[in-house]
Every structure is written in structure tokens, then in C-alpha cells.
């Protein structure tokens, strides 16, 4: 909440006052969906990856592996917990934003769908990373070197329409753009890509991550030798 407030003070009030409206929306309001997405992605990944990495690291995972629970239940527990925390955080950011700007949400159901699906997919990704990582460096390499740059370059704090055509095309290869664009559409009905394409990509990402998790448990990858 403190970080979010700082974002609003710096981007919304200090810099935002000097930036003209983007797509008919004030800059402070424009960055809300991007800010939510940034926090959803980074928190989902870190919650879930630390959640499963730590029991592996300290050895308490023995209890989970010897417990009468199915793979699905384990994933549901870890990913569900990580996603729930991220979703709650998303709503806290939303509430904090409402203190600073006049919020409008055009399609609350679509917004909810984006928040829930993103939290779930990236918690699954975090879970995968937590199982894959066998040291702390590996645990932080993907969030630091891949996710954070993608989020910042995915139109969280700007519209890709502000970029030269070449970089606009490059941006379309950034998967995070689809998430930010979709969530922003649910707020203000402005989007870089069609909302259904965005929703479809989140769903596809969710399925891919789920498939990887199923494969990991089937083969015992880095969990059961």
C-alpha cells in the first residue's frame, strides 16, 4: 500500500500533472491497471515460488510428499494461497488508488476475471519456478530479469501508441502487454489489443503453466527422486 501510494505521488501527482491525458483518461488514472498488473505478477510469482521453495530448502517438504494428498490438492493449496494473497493485494491497490483519483470501472466482471486469471497463472508460474530453482539465485533470476522488464515495457505506465511504429510492433511480442491492455480496457474501454485476445492469452498461459505443473508431478521433477 505504501509502495502504491508512492507510485501515485511520484507518477500521478508529480509527473502526471505534466503529462497530458492518455486516451481521454488522466495519467494518474491511466496507470492504475498497470500498477495492479505489476503487483499481481510480481507478488503471485514471489508468493508461490517462495511458498514451495522454502519447504524444499529447509527439508520440511518431506511431510507434504508423505501426506495422503493428491497432486491437485498440493497445487491447489500452494497456488490458491499465493493467488488469494495477490488478489487481495490487487484490491488493496485499487482501494488505495481510489483515494487519489476518481476511479471508474466500466466492466467489473471482466476486471475481476483478469485479476483472478492473472493471479492464478502467475502463481502457477511461481510454483514452477520454486520447484525448478535449487538455489536462491535461480529463484530470483526469472522475476528480476524477465518479469520486471516485461512489465515495465508492457505499457504499464504508458500507452504503446506513444512509441514509434517499430517499437509498437516489438511491444506486441510482450505477453504482459496483453494483460495490461485487457485490464485497462475493463476500466476505461481503451486497449492496445482486442480484449478477447487478451483474455484468450491469459487463459492459454494458465493452461500451459498447468500442463507444466502436471508434468512435473507426474515425473516427480525435482520433488520426488
Amino acid at each position: 500500500m505504501i509502495t502504491t501510494s508512492l507510485y501515485f505521488i511520484v507518477f500521478g501527482a508529480a509527473i502526471g500533472s505534466r503529462i497530458q491525458e492518455v486516451g481521454g483518461v488522466s495519467y494518474g488514472a491511466f496507470i492504475v491497471p498497470g500498477l495492479i498488473m505489476l503487483n499481481l505478477l510480481t507478488n503471485s510469482i514471489s508468493n508461490a515460488s517462495f511458498g514451495i521453495y522454502f519447504p524444499k530448502f529447509v527439508g520440511t517438504v518431506y511431510e507434504l510428499l508423505s501426506a495422503p494428498v493428491s497432486t491437485f490438492e498440493v497445487v491447489l493449496g500452494y497456488v490458491g494461497a499465493a493467488a488469494t494473497k495477490s488478489i487481495m493485494l490487487g484490491f488493496i491497490i485499487l482501494a488505495t488508488a481510489a483515494l487519489f483519483i476518481d476511479l471508474q470501472i466500466a466492466h467489473p466482471i471482466i476486471m475481476l476475471a483478469f485479476i483472478v486469471l492473472t493471479a492464478l497463472s502467475f502463481s502457477l508460474l511461481g510454483f514452477i519456478l520454486g520447484i525448478w530453482a535449487d538455489n536462491f539465485e535461480k529463484l530470483s533470476v526469472v522475476p528480476m530479469l524477465v518479469i520486471t522488464p516485461l512489465v515495465f515495457l508492457g505499457g504499464s505506465f504508458y500507452s504503446t501508441e506513444m512509441l514509434p511504429p517499430f517499437w509498437q510492433t516489438v511491444s506486441l511480442m510482450n505477453p504482459v502487454l496483453y494483460l495490461v491492455s485487457g485490464l485497462r480496457w475493463s476500466f476505461y474501454e481503451i486497449a492496445e489489443v482486442n480484449v478477447w485476445v487478451s483474455l484468450g492469452s491469459v487463459l492459454m498461459f494458465l493452461l500451459i503453466c498447468f500442463g507444466i505443473v502436471v508434468w512435473m508431478f507426474k515425473t516427480g521433477y525435482k520433488l520426488r527422486s
Binding site: G59, E63, R224
Partner: protein, 325 residues
């Protein structure tokens, strides 16, 4: 076979080869009856923990089958795992959870409804009750070991695995633990423990299994094992010193002490004739007087060391033989 005869644990032809090609378990078969206490002995890296981990679901067996109370550990994993409690070798606990919460969590994780009275009993038996609200990180190593035991007992398992439970613990915990083990056995719980402390196996186990290089060298009742493999020694305290063994008694397997005051006769308790009478007759004929005599029997530790040495020699001979071919 009816349910009464069904062993609580049956391991059939269990093998485990790790990805690197290391064969941790080689065609292990064993049956354990309900209510037994089995001690698994073996040097480090013999395969004891891998065997336990395979039965508990932590390690995937490469081949073979394991049933617990008649249920297959792969097909009916929910049933088998709910019956098993495991105290791991390493001190692996959560750090920031309270003792009571972590034990209550274990009970829930293993599918049992909350039962405060049971948890209270377990924690009191392990002298943990006054620490129930403490965070685990604040506990000493011995106390953490107690927490691990409490977690394993939280869901009232019917089969309890104790993987080197007394490694690095003080006398009082050992005593508490063996008291609990005896109580559990009385309530019908089967206990399988691995240990390096052979006196523990000697004191508590009904049967002893010896594992080396991923193979069970033997599994026998403790008394039968000691009788079968135990050598006895008859020690004679002589009235007068002997400088050397007289020819008249030389045919016996005798050893003389440096001061010439003690004769030690080693004999096999299983053989039909121990040779004691003949020795005493010969001593009388040679006019060798003795003041006292006593017998000693080899401990389980000596038996164990001999077995492991023999098995290692056999393995290295086999390897050398294969290399020579």
C-alpha cells in the same frame, strides 16, 4: 490369506536406481507383522533411509511393490500414507510456527479431524506441553526432535518410521522416546527404526534387519540372531601362571593372556558339542587349576560389524571377479 495373516507392511522385490545410475536398493523383500518393532541397522549410505522414503512416498521405487495393511502404496496412496507416521533423520521443522500449530497442521494434513485431547497427550508425553506456544525457532535441537516425533504421532499412525531418532539427543529424550515406543507397541502400532546405536536395537527391537549396499543381508528375531551368530567365550582365571599352552590342551581353541593367568576358550553356541566338557577334562588331566570361570556372549554390535564386513568383502570379491573376467 485372511486379514489376520496379512502383514502390516510387505515389501516385494523393491529396487531403486537413482538417475545417476546409483543402485540404492537392490531387490529388497521383507514382511513386517502388526505390532512388531523392527530395527534396521546398516552403515551410512546402506539404503536405510531410501527404503523408508520409498515406503512413505518420498522416493519413487524403480521396481517392486509395497503394501501397507494390504493397500498398495502407489494405487491406494491415500490409505497407506494416512496409516504411516514418519520421523525423518534431519531436523527439518518450520521455524516461525508455534509447536501446537505445527502439530495440529500435521494432523489435518494427514486427513484427521482436529482432536485437542490427543494432541495434548502427545505433547505431554514428549514434555512439550509447556512449550506448545513457543515458536519452533526458539527451541533447542533436542526439543525440535521432540516436535518431529509429535508431528509424526499427531494423526495416530498405525505404522511409525523412526529414522535415526536418537542421533544427537540427550539421555532424557531417549528415555522418553523408548517409553513412548513401548506404549505405542502395546496399542498395536508397528515401529520400524533405523539406528546406529546397536544397544538400542538390542534393547527394544523384536527383529533386527541388517542392510548393506542396498541389500538386506538378514532379518531375524533378535534373540535368534544372537543365538545363531553369537559366539560365546569361556574365560578361566588360573590359580597359577602358565608360560605357554601345554600340549595336552593345545587341541582346543584357546588363547592365553599375556600374564599367563587367563585362558579364553571360544565356542559356538549352536554346535552340538561345545567342547567345554572335553576342555575341562583335559585341564584336569594336565593338572591345571582355576579359581574362577565366566562366560561372555558377543553383542549385537559385534555381530553387525562381522556381517557388514563379510557382505562388503563378498561385494568387492564379486566386483574384482567381474573385472578379472
Amino acid at each position: 490369506m485372511n486379514a489376520v495373516d496379512e502383514p502390516i507392511l510387505r515389501v516385494s522385490n523393491l529396487s531403486k536406481t537413482y538417475a545417476g545410475g546409483f543402485e540404492a536398493l537392490k531387490d529388497i523383500s521383507l514382511e513386517i507383522q502388526k505390532g512388531e518393532i523392527i530395527a534396521l541397522l546398516g552403515p551410512n549410505g546402506a539404503g536405510k533411509t531410501t527404503l523408508i522414503s520409498a515406503i512413505c512416498g518420498i522416493v519413487r521405487p524403480s521396481s517392486g511393490q509395497v503394501t501397507v495393511a494390504g493397500f498398495d502404496i502407489a494405487r491406494d496412496y491415500r490409505k497407506t500414507r494416512a496409516l504411516i507416521g514418519l520421523v525423518p533423520q534431519e531436523l527439518t521443522t518450520d521455524s516461525f510456527e508455534s509447536v501446537y500449530n505445527t502439530v495440529a497442521f500435521s494432523r489435518g494434513l494427514f486427513g484427521r479431524a482436529p482432536n485437542h485431547a490427543h494432541l495434548e497427550k502427545v505433547l505431554k508425553d514428549l514434555s512439550l506441553w509447556d512449550k506448545k506456544d513457543n515458536k519452533i525457532i526458539t527451541l533447542s535441537g533436542g526439543m525440535k526432535r521432540r516436535v518431529l516425533i509429535a508431528k509424526a504421532l499427531a494423526h495416530e499412525p498405525r505404522v511409525l518410521f523412526l529414522d535415526e531418532p536418537t542421533a544427537g539427543v540427550d539421555v532424557s529424550l531417549r528415555k522418553d522416546m523408548w517409553k513412548i515406543v513401548k506404549e505405542l507397541r502395546e496399542s498395536g502400532v508397528t515401529i520400524i527404526l533405523t539406528t546406529h546405536y546397536i544397544e538400542e536395537a538390542e534393547e527394544i527391537a523384536d527383529r533386527v534387519g541388517v542392510i548393506n549396499n542396498g541389500e538386506i543381508i538378514l532379518i531375524e528375531s533378535k534373540t535368534a540372531l544372537m543365538q545363531k551368530l553369537g559366539k560365546k567365550q569361556l574365560i578361566l582365571d588360573l590359580s597359577e601362571s602358565l608360560s605357554a599352552l601345554p600340549a595336552a590342551i593345545n587341541r582346543h581353541d584357546l588363547a592365553i593372556s599375556d600374564d599367563g593367568m587367563k585362558l579364553t576358550y571360544t565356542f559356538d553356541t549352536q554346535s552340538e558339542r561345545t567342547g567345554i566338557t572335553a576342555l575341562l577334562d583335559d585341564l584336569k588331566a594336565a593338572d591345571i587349576q582355576f579359581r574362577d570361570l565366566n562366560t561372555t556372549q558377543s553383542s549385537l554390535e559385534e555381530i553387525f560389524v562381522n556381517l557388514v564386513d563379510e557382505s562388503s568383502e563378498r561385494n568387492s570379491a564379486a566386483v574384482n571377479g567381474a573385472a578379472a573376467e
